[in-house]
Amino acid sequence: MFDDVVFWALALPAVAAGVMVFRFDSMARATYALLTSLLCVGGEVLLLGLDYLGVVIVLMMTIEMAVMAVFMVMYMMNPAGLMPMTMVHNAKGAVVICAAVLAVLVAGILLAPWPARRGEPSADPTRDLGLSLMGPQMLTMMTLGLALVATIVATVVLATRRGRYDRYGDDVDARCADDPVRGGTGR
């Protein structure tokens, strides 16, 4: 009973906030609507007994959306939504496609013969996850790690305009970097 209440109390805001993401004119509001939706997702994961993952989702999504809001405001037109405008293309077709997808998914969910549960969740699923990632799923973990490193390098290369030749001169031999804003370690 209690679980039911919690489920619906999280599910309805999750969906409502998800819809509002594309209805708000203000980019800041859209971002924080998305955050609301994803925090509810984190809550649902907690409800499913995955303490660690639920809290990590809350943690990561908060940071991610807080940073995202900056980019939204920086690049988007009309960040505060003071000028009502639409920026969609092909909305009708998309509605049809999405409704179809939803219908197929719902039918599948309701009609599929879901297998019965095998085994019981252990007392500490977090421990299971850790042992799994450091054991049988080690390859996944390593791939993720490498992907994250690659992302860091790639995003910096993509986003910055200045390379080491700009910072340290043509021979890369300047003692101090020539940056528009001086850093804290005196390099």
């Binding site: 594309f22 998914l105 252990s122 993720l144 992907a147 992302t151 790639a154 986003a159």
Partner: protein, 101 residues
């Protein structure tokens, strides 16, 4: 709690996200749609773990994967937008398509 409500929630989030991905002109808004879709995937994976195979941690690993993909997608997305913005001052998918020409 049974499995179906969680999966319905997942399907709903996925569809809303898909709508965003299909309609939004702005790269940034498009990424928000992707995030929502991944949010649906997370709920689905966690629910299936719980109700189908709680003894093995594979469902949890899928959630970890989805969360990481969200972070990576966001970071790469913003880097690309920054690069596009610098090159042509555009942040729209339609206009990015024109860049090919």
């Amino acid at each position: 709690m049974s499995l179906e409500p969680f999966l319905l929630l997942a399907a709903a989030l996925f569809s809303i996200g898909l709508f965003g991905v299909l309609t939004q002109q702005s790269v940034v808004m498009l990424m928000m749609g992707l995030e929502l879709m991944l949010g649906g995937v997370i709920v689905g994976a966690a629910a299936v773990w719980r109700h189908v195979a709680p003894a093995v941690a594979d469902g949890q690993v899928l959630v970890v994967l989805a969360v990481t993909v969200m972070a990576v997608e966001m970071a790469v997305g913003f880097a690309v937008v920054t690069a596009l913005f610098r090159a042509r001052e555009v942040d729209m998918t339609d206009m990015a398509a024109e860049l090919k020409e």
